[in-house]
């Protein structure tokens, strides 16, 4: 089993028999954002789980996605709980609708991913720049030989729909 990766004071544990995350993180380390795609109905899912939630098929393949998306919702942590996050507080956590599979198979569904909104150097993006509707793209924060965390950074694309952030 690879040694746990320590990141911001947390121990990230991914044992050899972790049939959900090992390959996902290995792909992320190669800077590819991969989703599990159902072999039967073709729908992608995240996190990397073991059955298709729409058709219960067990078979799947990895499918690379663009990593581009729109902020669907967010929060800004002003008071960190985990000690290792205190040094980067305030930091934003974003819920991102990836461009692929938006509104499928039903209108309220999407391929959604949670990560931090970071600057290109992986420091926290300023609170004032976080908003629903802003466009983002994935970046990969390398933590070990076998593990990188997908993160999001603001893209230079125009926002989608109404841009909204919590009033001051």
């Amino acid at each position: 089993m690879p040694a746990p990766v320590t990141y911001r004071g947390m121990s990230l544990v991914i044992p050899d028999n972790d049939s959900e995350w090992i390959e996902f993180y290995a792909h992320a380390r190669a800077h590819r954002l991969m989703m599990r795609k159902c072999s039967a109905c073709g729908l992608m899912r995240y996190p990397p789980t073991h059955a298709c939630p729409w058709c219960q098929e067990l078979g799947w393949t990895w499918q690379e996605v663009s990593g581009r998306g729109t902020i669907h919702s967010y929060e800004v942590v002003m008071h960190a709980i985990q000690p290792g996050f205190k040094e980067i507080t305030p930091y934003a956590v974003v819920l991102v609708d990836l461009d692929e599979q938006r509104g499928q198979p039903t209108p309220d569904e999407a391929l959604r991913v949670i990560a931090n909104l970071v600057k290109p150097d992986f420091t926290a993006e300023a609170d004032a720049n976080v908003a629903i509707g802003k466009r983002v793209r994935v970046v990969f924060q390398d933590l070990a030989d076998h593990l990188a965390l997908p993160q999001f950074t603001l893209s230079d694309e125009p926002p989608e729909g109404r841009v909204w952030r919590l009033p001051e």
């Binding site: 947390m10 996190p47 967010y74 002003m78 709980i81 956590v93 109404r162 919590l166």
Partner: protein, 486 residues
């Protein structure tokens, strides 16, 4: 299609009226506007229920209008006779709790024993009368069999369940089931935690240092670990979708703080203003400090038994009309995927619990919502239909949820002010409300004599409370509900 206006009155046929139109047991007449299709099903409408359409309406008119085909009415009858099989057959007969503190100075075993014993005394039950025990916990408490042993209770059934919020109502339903099938007769349900001095509910301390693996990898590495952090995107999206404001939601804290000022047991008895909430420091946007609940050391207990046995016990039996347990949105592993993100589990739970009880939100006199945060109360009241979806902000800031308002919520102060109990205290409070013996500052409160003067340090008994509802919350995609009557 012909349109008929039917007038329904209470009677032996009541069980066959769709829940949305039924009067509450205290009951005035209800009105149904039914659209009927002619057909072979016409006959089963009891003639006593039908009136000539031309005859003018007399009696109280409800705003609910049901349009249904007769076939649908019949289908509903069948479904209901199953769903309502246990309505009013089980009661909560005893409640008890320890002091709410931030320094219990003793084990959860000690506090659990105290709470269970108090509930037994409240009900007038001895050790030989309780033969079932259940608890819920997150590896932060004492199992039921030890607590029962301490109290000399020999168990025919016990179970300790992993879980926090929304477990109270779910376990009440499970206790009813255990009794119904004959596994046991009377079940004590408790929750005991040192939520401030041992395993902190807010996620600081030991919990923040736990290794991250499995499902947690989807959120925790991003600094999304505490309840507030895990729920905040739901709250934020509600503000985006419906224009809900921080000031509107702050009224939940204001209301609960007013209620806590009438509660000798409450940890925070000081009344606060909207401004106090908005000026308190940010924790995780959109949550200010005063949008968040307390962390508390305490134990709580309630006792469930059959209505038949309840008749002989010390307290007025409080009947269980309906219960829904841990009802969930799709993709409970990662509910963000399913959406809408601003929807919570009550959307799915409401038909179950109101269907069993055969009432509508209008019939409820007092509510107890899981106020882990101000927003959770707003979201639940809205999702269960106390107002239109999206109007929760206006609803909670209208005065309706305050004592003296149309339907007060969390009359003891709730998790925001009284203390944090993982949901049990709000059920205990509603039981006392329905008994008419809320433990406020009225001199003869224990005898059910109340002034209904809701100024600080006075009364918190709701006048003529006959039906209560609890809205239990585990997280945005999972919730429970409970409807009680006196």
């Amino acid at each position: 299609m012909a349109r008929l206006d039917l007038t329904l009155e209470r009677g032996p046929d009541m069980a066959s009226i769709p829940p949305i139109a039924r009067t509450h047991p205290g009951g005035a007449v209800a009105r149904l506007d039914l659209t009927l299709e002619r057909g072979p099903d016409m006959a089963p409408i009891p003639p006593s229920l039908a009136r000539a359409p031309a005859e003018p309406w007399r009696g109280s008119v409800r705003r609910d209008t049901v349009v249904a085909s007769l076939a649908a009415v019949q289908a509903a009858r069948q479904e209901e006779s199953m769903a309502q099989g246990l309505r009013d057959k089980y009661c909560i007969v005893g409640v008890g709790e320890t002091e709410y503190s931030r320094n219990s100075g003793r084990t959860t075993r000690a506090t659990a024993v105290e709470a269970v014993r108090k509930a037994m005394r409240d009900a007038g039950l001895g050790a030989g009368d309780v033969d079932g025990m259940m608890s819920y916990q997150n590896n932060d408490s004492t199992p039921a069999n030890w607590v029962a042993g301490d109290l000399g209770i020999r168990l025919n059934f016990y179970m300790d369940v992993i879980g926090g919020g929304s477990s109270t109502e779910a376990l009440i339903g499970l206790a009813m089931g255990a009794i119904e099938v004959g596994m046991c007769r009377t079940v004590a349900i408790f929750r005991a935690m040192n939520g401030y001095t041992e395993v902190r509910i807010g996620g600081t301390g030991a919990r923040s240092a736990a290794p991250v693996r499995g499902q947690d990898l989807a959120q925790v590495p991003y600094g999304m670990r505490s309840a507030g952090q895990a729920f905040a995107p739901t709250f934020m999206r509600h503000m985006y979708d419906y224009g809900t404001t921080s000031a509107q939601v702050a009224h939940v804290k204001v209301a609960h703080s007013r209620h806590a000022s009438q509660n000798p047991k409450a940890l925070l008895k000081e009344r606060v203003t909207v401004d106090d909430v908005l000026k308190s420091r940010w924790i995780v946007k959109p949550l200010h400090l005063l949008d968040c609940c307390l962390e508390t050391d305490n134990a709580t207990c309630l006792i469930v038994t059959s209505a038949e046995r309840a008749r002989d016990l010390r307290q007025r039996p409080i009947h269980i009309m309906g219960v829904a347990g841990r009802v969930s949105k799709p993709r409970t592993d990662f509910h963000w995927a399913a959406g809408p993100v601003s929807r919570v589990a009550g959307y799915y739970a409401k038909d179950i619990v109101f269907g069993q009880a055969g009432i509508t939100p209008d019939d409820v006199h007092v509510t107890g919502s899981y106020d882990a945060f101000t927003f959770t109360t707003m979201l639940q009241l809205e999702e269960y239909g106390f107002c239109t979806k999206g109007e929760g902000g206006a609803y909670v800031s209208s005065g309706i949820i305050e004592l003296g308002g149309k339907r007060p919520n969390n009359t003891a102060g709730g998790h925001l002010c009284e203390g944090y109990t993982h949901g049990m205290s709000m059920v205990i409070e509603n039981v006392r409300q329905l008994r008419g013996t809320v433990d406020d500052y009225c001199p003869k409160a224990a005898d059910g004599v109340h002034t209904h003067d809701y100024s600080p340090g006075k009364c918190r008994q709701v006048k003529d409370a006959a039906i209560s509802m609890n809205l239990g919350w585990a997280m945005p995609p999972t919730g429970s509900a409970l409807i009680l009557r006196k």
